[in-house]
Protein backbone atom coordinates (compact mmCIF):
# COMPACT_ATOMS: atom_id res chain seq x y z
CA UNK A 1 0.00 0.00 0.00
CA UNK A 2 1.43 3.40 -0.93
CA UNK A 3 0.89 6.42 1.26
CA UNK A 4 -1.13 9.29 -0.13
CA UNK A 5 1.17 12.22 -1.00
CA UNK A 6 1.03 15.19 1.38
CA UNK A 7 -0.13 17.43 -1.46
CA UNK A 8 -3.23 15.28 -2.13
CA UNK A 9 -4.11 15.24 1.56
CA UNK A 10 -3.73 19.01 1.79
CA UNK A 11 -6.03 19.47 -1.21
CA UNK A 12 -8.62 17.34 0.59
CA UNK A 13 -8.24 19.53 3.69
CA UNK A 14 -8.61 22.62 1.51
CA UNK A 15 -11.80 21.26 -0.03
CA UNK A 16 -13.44 20.71 3.33
CA UNK A 17 -12.16 17.36 4.70
CA UNK A 18 -10.71 18.92 7.86
CA UNK A 19 -10.30 15.49 9.52
CA UNK A 20 -7.60 14.57 6.98
CA UNK A 21 -5.34 17.12 8.64
CA UNK A 22 -4.79 14.49 11.37
CA UNK A 23 -2.70 12.42 8.94
CA UNK A 24 -0.55 15.42 8.09
CA UNK A 25 -0.24 16.21 11.80
CA UNK A 26 1.09 12.69 12.45
CA UNK A 27 3.60 13.05 9.62
CA UNK A 28 4.86 16.51 10.51
CA UNK A 29 4.50 17.07 14.24
CA UNK A 30 7.85 15.48 15.15
CA UNK A 31 9.94 17.14 12.37
CA UNK A 32 8.34 20.51 13.12
CA UNK A 33 8.80 20.03 16.86
CA UNK A 34 12.50 19.29 16.27
CA UNK A 35 12.86 22.31 14.02
CA UNK A 36 11.55 24.53 16.80
CA UNK A 37 13.18 22.77 19.74
CA UNK A 38 16.63 22.78 18.15
CA UNK A 39 16.18 26.43 17.20
CA UNK A 40 14.78 27.77 20.47
CA UNK A 41 15.86 25.16 23.05
CA UNK A 42 12.37 25.53 24.59
CA UNK A 43 10.19 22.37 24.36
CA UNK A 44 7.01 24.03 25.71
CA UNK A 45 7.22 26.89 23.25
CA UNK A 46 8.02 24.39 20.47
CA UNK A 47 4.83 22.44 21.18
CA UNK A 48 2.80 25.65 21.18
CA UNK A 49 4.29 26.68 17.86
CA UNK A 50 3.53 23.28 16.28
CA UNK A 51 -0.13 23.70 17.30
CA UNK A 52 -0.09 27.22 15.93
CA UNK A 53 1.16 25.93 12.55
CA UNK A 54 -1.76 23.51 12.23
CA UNK A 55 -4.24 26.15 13.35
CA UNK A 56 -2.90 28.42 10.62
CA UNK A 57 -3.14 25.64 8.04
CA UNK A 58 -6.84 25.37 8.83
CA UNK A 59 -7.34 29.10 8.72
CA UNK A 60 -5.46 29.69 5.50
CA UNK A 61 -6.16 26.38 3.77
CA UNK A 62 -7.85 28.16 0.87
CA UNK A 63 -4.52 29.76 -0.02
CA UNK A 64 -2.93 26.36 -0.73
CA UNK A 65 -2.50 25.96 -4.53
CA UNK A 66 -2.32 22.60 -6.32
CA UNK A 67 1.26 21.82 -7.34
CA UNK A 68 2.82 23.64 -4.37
CA UNK A 69 5.20 21.24 -2.54
CA UNK A 70 3.51 20.78 0.84
CA UNK A 71 6.81 20.51 2.75
CA UNK A 72 7.96 23.92 1.53
CA UNK A 73 4.52 25.41 2.22
CA UNK A 74 4.31 24.15 5.80
CA UNK A 75 7.82 25.39 6.62
CA UNK A 76 6.91 28.80 5.30
CA UNK A 77 4.01 28.84 7.76
CA UNK A 78 6.30 27.48 10.49
CA UNK A 79 8.88 30.24 9.99
CA UNK A 80 6.20 32.93 9.99
CA UNK A 81 4.61 31.52 13.15
CA UNK A 82 7.95 31.75 14.95
CA UNK A 83 8.69 35.26 13.64
CA UNK A 84 5.22 36.44 14.70
CA UNK A 85 5.63 34.86 18.13
CA UNK A 86 8.91 36.63 18.85
CA UNK A 87 7.53 39.89 17.47
CA UNK A 88 4.66 39.62 19.95
CA UNK A 89 6.77 38.39 22.87
CA UNK A 90 10.33 39.68 22.40
CA UNK A 91 12.93 37.41 23.95
CA UNK A 92 14.39 38.60 27.20
CA UNK A 93 17.61 36.77 26.37
CA UNK A 94 18.79 34.79 23.42
CA UNK A 95 19.75 31.15 23.50
CA UNK A 96 23.15 31.17 25.16
CA UNK A 97 25.58 28.31 25.65
CA UNK A 98 25.26 28.60 29.44
CA UNK A 99 21.61 27.60 29.14
CA UNK A 100 22.61 24.15 27.93
CA UNK A 101 23.25 21.31 30.32
CA UNK A 102 27.02 21.06 30.83
CA UNK A 103 28.89 18.33 29.03
CA UNK A 104 30.61 16.34 31.72
CA UNK A 105 33.60 14.38 30.52
CA UNK A 106 32.80 10.75 31.15
CA UNK A 107 34.18 7.41 30.16
CA UNK A 108 31.13 6.80 27.96
CA UNK A 109 31.53 5.86 24.32
CA UNK A 110 33.37 8.40 22.22
CA UNK A 111 30.46 8.67 19.83
CA UNK A 112 28.07 9.69 22.60
CA UNK A 113 30.46 12.42 23.65
CA UNK A 114 30.86 13.62 20.09
CA UNK A 115 27.10 13.86 19.70
CA UNK A 116 26.86 15.94 22.86
CA UNK A 117 29.62 18.26 21.67
CA UNK A 118 28.00 18.56 18.27
CA UNK A 119 24.70 19.45 19.88
CA UNK A 120 26.36 22.21 21.85
CA UNK A 121 28.33 23.41 18.83
CA UNK A 122 25.07 23.66 16.88
CA UNK A 123 23.37 25.63 19.66
CA UNK A 124 26.27 28.08 19.72
CA UNK A 125 25.71 29.02 16.09
CA UNK A 126 23.89 32.28 15.38
CA UNK A 127 20.21 31.56 14.80
CA UNK A 128 20.19 32.07 11.02
CA UNK A 129 23.07 29.63 10.57
CA UNK A 130 21.48 27.07 12.83
CA UNK A 131 18.21 27.46 10.97
CA UNK A 132 19.68 26.85 7.54
CA UNK A 133 21.47 23.69 8.72
CA UNK A 134 18.26 22.45 10.34
CA UNK A 135 16.24 23.11 7.22
CA UNK A 136 18.53 21.24 4.85
CA UNK A 137 19.85 18.50 7.13
CA UNK A 138 16.87 17.62 9.31
CA UNK A 139 13.84 18.87 7.43
CA UNK A 140 15.26 17.63 4.14
CA UNK A 141 14.25 20.68 2.15
CA UNK A 142 15.83 21.11 -1.27
CA UNK A 143 18.14 24.09 -1.74
CA UNK A 144 15.67 25.61 -4.21
CA UNK A 145 12.94 25.35 -1.56
CA UNK A 146 15.18 26.94 1.07
CA UNK A 147 16.04 29.77 -1.34
CA UNK A 148 12.37 30.54 -1.88
CA UNK A 149 11.67 30.19 1.85
CA UNK A 150 14.43 32.63 2.83
CA UNK A 151 13.85 34.86 -0.19
CA UNK A 152 17.40 34.63 -1.54
CA UNK A 153 19.38 33.26 -4.50
CA UNK A 154 20.26 29.58 -4.80
CA UNK A 155 23.98 30.39 -4.65
CA UNK A 156 23.45 32.42 -1.50
CA UNK A 157 21.93 29.31 0.09
CA UNK A 158 25.03 27.28 -0.84
CA UNK A 159 27.36 29.94 0.55
CA UNK A 160 25.36 30.20 3.76
CA UNK A 161 25.36 26.44 4.28
CA UNK A 162 29.11 26.31 3.80
CA UNK A 163 29.69 29.20 6.20
CA UNK A 164 27.41 27.59 8.78
CA UNK A 165 29.37 24.34 8.46
CA UNK A 166 32.68 26.18 8.84
CA UNK A 167 31.50 27.85 12.02
CA UNK A 168 30.08 24.59 13.32
CA UNK A 169 33.49 22.98 12.84
CA UNK A 170 35.19 25.86 14.68
CA UNK A 171 32.75 25.59 17.62
CA UNK A 172 33.09 21.83 17.70
CA UNK A 173 36.89 22.09 17.90
CA UNK A 174 36.83 24.65 20.69
CA UNK A 175 34.39 22.53 22.71
CA UNK A 176 36.40 19.37 22.11
CA UNK A 177 39.57 21.09 23.31
CA UNK A 178 37.76 22.42 26.41
CA UNK A 179 36.48 18.94 27.24
CA UNK A 180 39.92 17.42 26.82
CA UNK A 181 41.35 20.02 29.22
CA UNK A 182 38.64 19.26 31.78
CA UNK A 183 39.32 15.58 31.42
CA UNK A 184 43.04 16.15 31.94
CA UNK A 185 42.32 18.29 35.02
CA UNK A 186 39.99 15.66 36.42
CA UNK A 187 42.60 12.98 35.80
CA UNK A 188 45.23 15.15 37.56
CA UNK A 189 43.11 15.81 40.65
CA UNK A 190 41.61 12.41 41.14
CA UNK A 191 44.06 9.57 40.82
CA UNK A 192 42.64 6.78 38.64
CA UNK A 193 41.41 3.78 40.60
CA UNK A 194 42.40 0.48 39.09
CA UNK A 195 39.57 -1.83 38.05
CA UNK A 196 36.83 0.59 39.14
CA UNK A 197 34.03 1.05 36.60
CA UNK A 198 30.91 3.08 36.95
CA UNK A 199 27.83 0.90 36.50
Amino acid sequence: MTLAPDEDLMLQVRDGAGETLGVLFDRYQTPLFNFYSKLTGDPTLSEDLVQEVFLRILKYRQSYRPGTPFRAWIYKIARNARIDHFRKFPRERTFEPEMLPPVIPTDSAQEQQEVELLQRALQQLPEEKREILLLCRFQELKYEEIASLLGCELNTVRTRIHRALQELRKNFHQLAQGTMLKKAEAAGNIPPQGGHHEV
Binding site: G18, L21, F25, K38, V50, Q51, F54, R56, Q119
Partner: protein, 270 residues
Amino acid sequence: MKCEQITELLPDYLQGSLSADQRHTLEAHLERCADCSEEAALWKKLSLLPVDQPGPASRARFEAMLQAYLAGRSNHPADERHWRKRVSAWNWNVFHWLRSPVGAMAWSVALLAIGVFAGLRLAGPKPPSPDLAAMQSELTSMKQLVVLSLLQQQSASARLEGVTWSTREQQLDPQVLSALLHTLRYDASVDVRLAALDALSRHGRQPQVHKGILDSLQQDQSPLVQVALIDLMLEWRDRDAAHRLQELEQTPNLNPTVRQRVEWAKSKLN
Protein backbone atom coordinates in the same frame (compact mmCIF):
# COMPACT_ATOMS: atom_id res chain seq x y z
CA MET B 1 41.07 22.73 -6.67
CA LYS B 2 41.13 25.34 -3.91
CA CYS B 3 39.00 25.50 -0.77
CA GLU B 4 37.17 28.61 -2.08
CA GLN B 5 35.85 26.61 -5.00
CA ILE B 6 34.58 24.00 -2.58
CA THR B 7 32.13 26.55 -1.14
CA GLU B 8 29.93 26.13 -4.19
CA LEU B 9 30.35 22.38 -4.61
CA LEU B 10 30.33 21.02 -1.07
CA PRO B 11 26.63 21.69 -0.29
CA ASP B 12 25.62 19.97 -3.56
CA TYR B 13 27.97 17.10 -2.82
CA LEU B 14 26.44 16.68 0.62
CA GLN B 15 22.98 16.54 -0.88
CA GLY B 16 24.21 14.09 -3.52
CA SER B 17 23.42 16.27 -6.51
CA LEU B 18 26.88 16.59 -8.16
CA SER B 19 27.77 15.10 -11.53
CA ALA B 20 30.19 12.13 -11.47
CA ASP B 21 33.10 14.32 -12.71
CA GLN B 22 32.53 17.02 -10.12
CA ARG B 23 32.17 14.40 -7.40
CA HIS B 24 35.54 12.83 -8.26
CA THR B 25 37.28 16.21 -8.27
CA LEU B 26 35.75 17.08 -4.93
CA GLU B 27 36.55 13.73 -3.33
CA ALA B 28 40.16 14.10 -4.47
CA HIS B 29 40.25 17.47 -2.72
CA LEU B 30 38.68 16.06 0.43
CA GLU B 31 41.43 13.44 0.62
CA ARG B 32 44.10 16.14 0.65
CA CYS B 33 42.35 18.88 2.69
CA ALA B 34 41.74 18.11 6.36
CA ASP B 35 39.49 21.14 6.98
CA CYS B 36 37.09 20.42 4.15
CA SER B 37 36.94 16.70 4.88
CA GLU B 38 36.18 17.49 8.51
CA GLU B 39 33.27 19.65 7.41
CA ALA B 40 31.91 16.81 5.30
CA ALA B 41 32.34 14.45 8.27
CA LEU B 42 30.49 16.85 10.60
CA TRP B 43 27.64 17.02 8.10
CA LYS B 44 27.31 13.26 8.26
CA LYS B 45 27.53 13.27 12.06
CA LEU B 46 24.63 15.72 12.28
CA SER B 47 22.35 12.79 11.48
CA LEU B 48 23.38 11.24 14.83
CA LEU B 49 21.75 14.04 16.82
CA PRO B 50 18.82 12.72 18.88
CA VAL B 51 15.28 13.32 17.62
CA ASP B 52 13.29 15.22 20.28
CA GLN B 53 9.77 13.91 20.84
CA PRO B 54 6.80 16.19 21.52
CA GLY B 55 4.86 15.54 24.74
CA PRO B 56 2.08 12.91 24.83
CA ALA B 57 -0.63 15.57 25.22
CA SER B 58 0.31 17.13 21.88
CA ARG B 59 -1.99 14.87 19.80
CA ALA B 60 -4.94 15.41 22.18
CA ARG B 61 -4.44 19.14 21.97
CA PHE B 62 -4.45 19.00 18.19
CA GLU B 63 -7.64 16.90 18.23
CA ALA B 64 -9.34 19.40 20.55
CA MET B 65 -8.30 22.25 18.25
CA LEU B 66 -9.54 20.40 15.17
CA GLN B 67 -12.87 19.47 16.77
CA ALA B 68 -13.38 23.04 17.97
CA TYR B 69 -12.60 24.29 14.49
CA LEU B 70 -14.92 21.83 12.73
CA ALA B 71 -17.70 22.53 15.24
CA GLY B 72 -17.25 26.26 14.73
CA ARG B 73 -17.39 25.88 10.96
CA SER B 74 -20.51 23.74 10.91
CA ASN B 75 -22.27 26.49 12.87
CA HIS B 76 -21.94 28.85 9.93
CA PRO B 77 -25.38 29.12 8.31
CA ALA B 78 -24.16 29.56 4.73
CA ASP B 79 -22.57 26.62 2.98
CA GLU B 80 -19.42 27.62 1.06
CA ARG B 81 -20.44 25.97 -2.21
CA HIS B 82 -23.81 27.69 -2.09
CA TRP B 83 -22.02 30.99 -1.64
CA ARG B 84 -19.73 30.34 -4.57
CA LYS B 85 -22.73 29.69 -6.82
CA ARG B 86 -24.39 32.91 -5.76
CA VAL B 87 -21.21 34.90 -6.27
CA SER B 88 -20.62 33.52 -9.77
CA ALA B 89 -24.23 34.24 -10.85
CA TRP B 90 -23.86 37.78 -9.57
CA ASN B 91 -20.55 38.15 -11.44
CA TRP B 92 -22.18 37.12 -14.69
CA ASN B 93 -25.01 39.68 -14.36
CA VAL B 94 -22.61 42.46 -13.51
CA PHE B 95 -20.30 41.76 -16.46
CA HIS B 96 -23.26 41.61 -18.81
CA TRP B 97 -24.37 45.03 -17.65
CA LEU B 98 -20.87 46.51 -17.81
CA ARG B 99 -20.65 45.68 -21.51
CA SER B 100 -23.70 47.83 -22.35
CA PRO B 101 -23.04 51.51 -23.42
CA VAL B 102 -24.50 52.89 -20.19
CA GLY B 103 -22.36 50.45 -18.24
CA ALA B 104 -19.25 51.50 -20.20
CA MET B 105 -19.79 55.14 -19.29
CA ALA B 106 -20.49 54.22 -15.67
CA TRP B 107 -17.36 52.17 -15.23
CA SER B 108 -15.18 54.82 -16.89
CA VAL B 109 -16.41 57.33 -14.31
CA ALA B 110 -15.96 54.74 -11.56
CA LEU B 111 -12.37 54.01 -12.66
CA LEU B 112 -11.56 57.73 -12.65
CA ALA B 113 -13.01 58.05 -9.17
CA ILE B 114 -11.02 55.02 -7.98
CA GLY B 115 -7.84 56.51 -9.48
CA VAL B 116 -8.33 59.83 -7.69
CA PHE B 117 -9.23 58.09 -4.44
CA ALA B 118 -6.26 55.72 -4.62
CA GLY B 119 -3.91 58.63 -5.41
CA LEU B 120 -5.09 60.53 -2.37
CA ARG B 121 -4.96 57.45 -0.17
CA LEU B 122 -1.46 56.39 -1.20
CA ALA B 123 -0.09 59.89 -0.68
CA GLY B 124 -1.32 60.00 2.91
CA PRO B 125 -0.23 57.84 5.87
CA LYS B 126 -1.31 54.21 5.65
CA PRO B 127 -3.99 53.07 8.08
CA PRO B 128 -3.60 49.57 9.59
CA SER B 129 -5.00 46.88 7.28
CA PRO B 130 -8.53 45.89 8.32
CA ASP B 131 -8.00 42.43 6.73
CA LEU B 132 -5.03 41.73 8.95
CA ALA B 133 -6.92 42.88 12.04
CA ALA B 134 -9.85 40.64 11.09
CA MET B 135 -7.57 37.63 10.61
CA GLN B 136 -5.88 38.32 13.93
CA SER B 137 -9.22 38.47 15.74
CA GLU B 138 -10.40 35.28 14.01
CA LEU B 139 -7.25 33.49 15.21
CA THR B 140 -7.85 34.75 18.74
CA SER B 141 -11.43 33.49 18.78
CA MET B 142 -10.24 30.10 17.43
CA LYS B 143 -7.83 29.81 20.35
CA GLN B 144 -10.63 30.61 22.75
CA LEU B 145 -12.75 27.86 21.19
CA VAL B 146 -9.87 25.48 21.85
CA VAL B 147 -9.82 26.56 25.50
CA LEU B 148 -13.55 25.93 25.83
CA SER B 149 -13.24 22.53 24.21
CA LEU B 150 -10.29 21.51 26.40
CA LEU B 151 -12.01 22.60 29.60
CA GLN B 152 -14.75 20.07 28.91
CA GLN B 153 -12.41 17.09 28.45
CA GLN B 154 -12.52 14.02 30.70
CA SER B 155 -8.82 14.01 31.43
CA ALA B 156 -7.51 16.44 34.04
CA SER B 157 -4.31 17.04 32.06
CA ALA B 158 -6.35 18.15 29.03
CA ARG B 159 -8.36 20.53 31.22
CA LEU B 160 -5.13 21.82 32.72
CA GLU B 161 -3.87 22.37 29.20
CA GLY B 162 -7.05 24.35 28.47
CA VAL B 163 -6.44 26.61 31.46
CA THR B 164 -2.82 27.13 30.38
CA TRP B 165 -3.94 28.07 26.87
CA SER B 166 -6.26 30.70 28.27
CA THR B 167 -3.31 32.50 29.88
CA ARG B 168 -1.76 33.13 26.46
CA GLU B 169 -4.40 35.67 25.50
CA GLN B 170 -4.51 39.17 26.93
CA GLN B 171 -8.27 39.51 26.44
CA LEU B 172 -10.72 36.68 27.05
CA ASP B 173 -14.32 36.32 25.88
CA PRO B 174 -16.94 36.47 28.67
CA GLN B 175 -17.81 32.90 27.68
CA VAL B 176 -14.24 31.70 28.36
CA LEU B 177 -14.15 33.63 31.63
CA SER B 178 -17.36 31.99 32.85
CA ALA B 179 -16.02 28.57 31.79
CA LEU B 180 -12.91 29.26 33.88
CA LEU B 181 -15.07 30.36 36.83
CA HIS B 182 -17.08 27.15 36.47
CA THR B 183 -13.80 25.20 36.50
CA LEU B 184 -12.63 27.04 39.62
CA ARG B 185 -15.87 26.16 41.36
CA TYR B 186 -16.66 22.64 40.24
CA ASP B 187 -13.56 20.94 38.81
CA ALA B 188 -12.74 17.71 40.64
CA SER B 189 -8.97 18.20 40.40
CA VAL B 190 -7.22 20.55 42.83
CA ASP B 191 -4.44 21.20 40.29
CA VAL B 192 -6.92 22.31 37.66
CA ARG B 193 -8.73 24.56 40.15
CA LEU B 194 -5.43 26.14 41.25
CA ALA B 195 -4.43 26.77 37.64
CA ALA B 196 -7.86 28.26 36.92
CA LEU B 197 -7.49 30.57 39.92
CA ASP B 198 -4.10 31.70 38.65
CA ALA B 199 -5.50 32.32 35.16
CA LEU B 200 -8.52 34.20 36.51
CA SER B 201 -6.49 36.38 38.86
CA ARG B 202 -5.10 38.16 35.77
CA HIS B 203 -8.62 39.31 34.99
CA GLY B 204 -9.51 40.22 38.58
CA ARG B 205 -10.42 43.77 37.60
CA GLN B 206 -13.57 42.55 35.87
CA PRO B 207 -16.39 42.65 38.43
CA GLN B 208 -17.86 39.29 37.35
CA VAL B 209 -14.47 37.55 37.78
CA HIS B 210 -13.69 39.38 41.01
CA LYS B 211 -16.96 38.34 42.59
CA GLY B 212 -16.71 34.76 41.30
CA ILE B 213 -13.26 34.31 42.84
CA LEU B 214 -14.28 35.78 46.21
CA ASP B 215 -17.43 33.63 46.33
CA SER B 216 -15.40 30.46 45.79
CA LEU B 217 -13.62 31.06 49.11
CA GLN B 218 -16.63 29.73 51.00
CA GLN B 219 -17.11 26.84 48.60
CA ASP B 220 -13.70 25.27 48.15
CA GLN B 221 -12.75 22.56 50.63
CA SER B 222 -9.15 22.11 49.52
CA PRO B 223 -6.60 23.77 51.86
CA LEU B 224 -4.29 24.45 48.91
CA VAL B 225 -6.94 26.39 47.01
CA GLN B 226 -8.09 28.12 50.19
CA VAL B 227 -4.57 29.35 50.95
CA ALA B 228 -4.13 30.58 47.37
CA LEU B 229 -7.44 32.44 47.64
CA ILE B 230 -6.45 34.04 50.95
CA ASP B 231 -3.18 35.24 49.43
CA LEU B 232 -5.03 36.70 46.47
CA MET B 233 -7.45 38.54 48.76
CA LEU B 234 -4.53 39.98 50.64
CA GLU B 235 -3.05 41.16 47.36
CA TRP B 236 -6.31 42.80 46.27
CA ARG B 237 -6.97 44.40 49.69
CA ASP B 238 -10.74 44.61 49.19
CA ARG B 239 -12.89 46.56 51.58
CA ASP B 240 -14.76 43.47 52.71
CA ALA B 241 -11.69 41.19 52.74
CA ALA B 242 -11.50 41.20 56.54
CA HIS B 243 -15.16 40.35 56.78
CA ARG B 244 -14.84 37.43 54.36
CA LEU B 245 -11.80 36.10 56.22
CA GLN B 246 -13.74 36.33 59.47
CA GLU B 247 -16.51 34.26 57.90
CA LEU B 248 -14.04 31.66 56.72
CA GLU B 249 -12.47 31.43 60.16
CA GLN B 250 -15.83 30.51 61.64
CA THR B 251 -16.17 27.51 59.33
CA PRO B 252 -16.23 24.34 61.46
CA ASN B 253 -13.40 21.83 60.86
CA LEU B 254 -11.25 24.38 59.08
CA ASN B 255 -7.81 23.01 58.29
CA PRO B 256 -5.30 24.28 60.96
CA THR B 257 -2.85 25.53 58.28
CA VAL B 258 -5.64 27.49 56.61
CA ARG B 259 -6.73 28.90 59.98
CA GLN B 260 -3.15 30.00 60.60
CA ARG B 261 -3.06 31.64 57.15
CA VAL B 262 -6.30 33.50 57.88
CA GLU B 263 -4.81 34.83 61.13
CA TRP B 264 -1.70 35.95 59.33
CA ALA B 265 -3.68 37.59 56.50
CA LYS B 266 -5.89 39.41 58.99
CA SER B 267 -2.85 40.79 60.80
CA LYS B 268 -1.46 42.02 57.48
CA LEU B 269 -4.72 43.70 56.55
CA ASN B 270 -4.86 45.70 59.77
